[in-house]
């Protein structure tokens, strides 16, 4: 750690030092912690204001259950594919013997693409894979392949998967390239000297070291897609039954007919992304020990 060593001064002055982060504490309290607490508390409140578990029990309807399930499935699949493809591309650049010049542009592009989410991203995919999109028309006129007849619809679950990957893969690349750089050459050489094959090196040395950061990034990608609203909303409108879209409609017009059920819906989102991120933070600190 590069922290400044604690100074020797009388204990009495300590509270004054804490005053320095008062603005930050106030900001965090007003615009981050209290609003979240409001949701959490509301999830356990009856309309009359008393404590109840009824809201959480009421979540157990077909429509809400299937919304959570679709959301979790969507997030798992995009996180898994994002990790796999991102890892392949990152490994290709770091170990594949490709020209060094590729690396910089790939990182820059990943920075751009991981931030190119939301409404414009949906437009880009509609223009490409939508009913009148570039690729759809090209496949139809050149090869006679009708994507729609084959069951592919951009405004569906798999369409969403393909679209989300556009910001999931670059995020993986951005996080995993430094981790791959952290794999020391000496480890590989040491393994080779001891007679390990390339596969053995990966299975017994590199992957165990990378495992925490791989799983951690997976958790981050999961949360990233679980909370995304704009892309899905611009792509499919309010129809698609995933949790963020449902919550969006609920906030706009109380479609569930019960304000406290809305809190419970949001609370469920916090619990799921919270779990994913706790995993991320724990594993991240564990993996950073190796990368020093």
């Amino acid at each position: 750690m590069t922290d400044i060593p604690p100074r020797h001064r009388p204990k009495l002055r300590l509270p004054i030092a804490w005053l320095g982060i008062l603005p930050f504490a106030l900001f965090a309290l007003l615009f981050l912690i209290l609003p979240t607490m409001k949701i959490v508390v509301g999830a356990f409140q009856s309309p009359a204001g008393g404590f109840t578990l009824q809201n959480l029990i009421d979540l157990n309807t077909d429509s809400i259950r299937s919304a959570y399930w679709t959301s979790i499935k969507l997030s798992l699949i995009t996180a898994l594919l994002g990790c796999a493809v991102g890892f392949a591309m990152a490994a290709a650049v770091v170990f594949g013997g490709l020209p060094k010049r590729i690396r910089g542009p790939l990182l820059t592009f990943s920075g751009v693409a991981s931030n190119f989410a939301g409404v414009p991203l949906a437009f880009a995919f509609i223009a490409t894979l939508g009913p009148a999109g570039l690729v759809t028309l090209w496949l139809k006129t050149e090869f006679g392949i009708n994507l729609r007849a084959m069951g592919f619809n951009l405004l569906s679950f798999w369409g969403l998967v393909v679209t989300y990957l556009f910001f999931q893969i670059p995020l993986m690349i951005l996080i995993i390239i430094p981790a791959l750089d952290g794999l020391k050459r000496e480890w590989r050489e040491a393994a080779a000297v001891l007679g390990a094959t390339g596969a053995q090196y990966w299975r017994m040395v590199a992957l165990p070291i990378l495992f925490p950061s791989l799983l951690g990034t997976f958790a981050l990608l999961f949360a990233n897609s679980f909370g995304a609203v704009a892309t899905a909303f611009a792509l499919t409108g309010p129809q698609l039954n995933i949790v963020p879209i449902k919550l969006f409609a609920q906030i706009r017009g109380d479609v569930l007919g019960n304000p406290n059920l809305g809190y419970a819906l949001a609370f469920g989102m916090i619990v799921i992304t919270g779990l994913a991120n706790v995993t991320y933070i724990v594993l991240r600190t564990r993996s950073e020990r190796w990368l020093k």
Binding site: I4, A17, L32, A92, V93, G118, P120, A127
Partner: protein
């Protein structure tokens, strides 16, 4: 052998990323039947709502950046200098916006700051703008704090502060004339990233009912065919510009340091 696989992985990946970009560009040029034209862009730029919402979002981004810098730089500096024991807590709080989805945060705002609450921010247009700015500052907090904190790591905060103090500088002078110039590159990186996040943000602006660029794009997407891809091209260009500027300031600072 490895090299063939490496090229294959990279090229397939690039194909996936290039197609939507080509697709949106091509589609945006197809408004006039039979020939490529910039008609869709002309339509977009002639739309007064485009300029109104775009400048609204730009103003809010500027407000977010100013507020974010005023909040984050002194806090990160103070934590490094005087409160290293508070570091884990502050860092944890700055990471919270990555954990709690934006839609949940804004839901909390709507319920917490409604017209009958202790701070009725949503009661007036200006109050809602303030609330939205705070929301954007929250979204940008993880990136802003990390950027500034990394910048502070490269300088010797304690020595600089003591040197300034022994020359008679007060806290304000230290922050504005010693610390800020030293972490300017980090601050600028954070600022451009904030701009990229805020300019097209949809969820918070839509739910707070403010005329921002994100909801405008969504509305246009629901009603038009050729303008949306043109907007996507514009939005992509803005994101590129933000990331390019980050690289530029970073490279510039390395150059400066190398000369010194």
């Amino acid at each position: 052998m490895t090299r063939i696989f490496a090229w294959a992985a990279l090229l397939l990946g690039c194909l996936y990323f290039l197609l939507p970009l080509v697709g949106m560009t091509e589609f945006s040029l197809k408004m006039r039947r039979g020939v490529y034209s910039f008609d869709a862009y002309v339509k977009v730029f002639e739309d007064p709502t485009f300029w109104a919402t775009f400048s609204y979002s730009l103003t809010l981004a500027a407000a977010t950046i100013v507020f974010g810098v005023l909040l984050v730089v002194p806090t990160a500096y103070w934590v490094r200098l005087k409160l290293p024991q508070a570091r884990p807590v502050v860092e944890f709080i700055t990471l919270l916006p990555l954990v709690i989805p934006a839609i949940v945060i804004v839901f909390g705002y709507i319920r917490l700051y409604n017209t009958s609450s202790f701070l009725p921010l949503t009661g007036s247009a200006f109050g809602t703008d303030v609330l939205l700015t705070m929301g954007y500052a929250t979204l940008a907090l993880p990136y802003m704090y990390r950027a500034v904190d990394t910048g502070l790591r490269t300088i010797d905060v304690a020595t600089l502060t003591e040197a300034a103090q022994s020359l008679g500088a007060g806290w304000f002078t230290i922050l504005t004339r010693i610390i800020l110039p030293n972490v300017l590159v980090a601050v600028l990186s954070g600022a451009f990233l904030t701009l990229a996040i805020v300019i097209g943000e949809f969820t918070m602006a839509a739910l707070l009912n403010r005329p921002a660029f994100g909801p405008f794009m969504q509305l246009l997407g629901a009603n038009r065919a050729y303008e949306p891809p043109a907007l996507a091209v514009i939005a992509f260009a803005i994101t590129w510009a933000c990331m390019g500027l980050i690289q530029l300031v970073t490279r510039f600072s390395k150059h400066e340091r190398a000369k010194a």
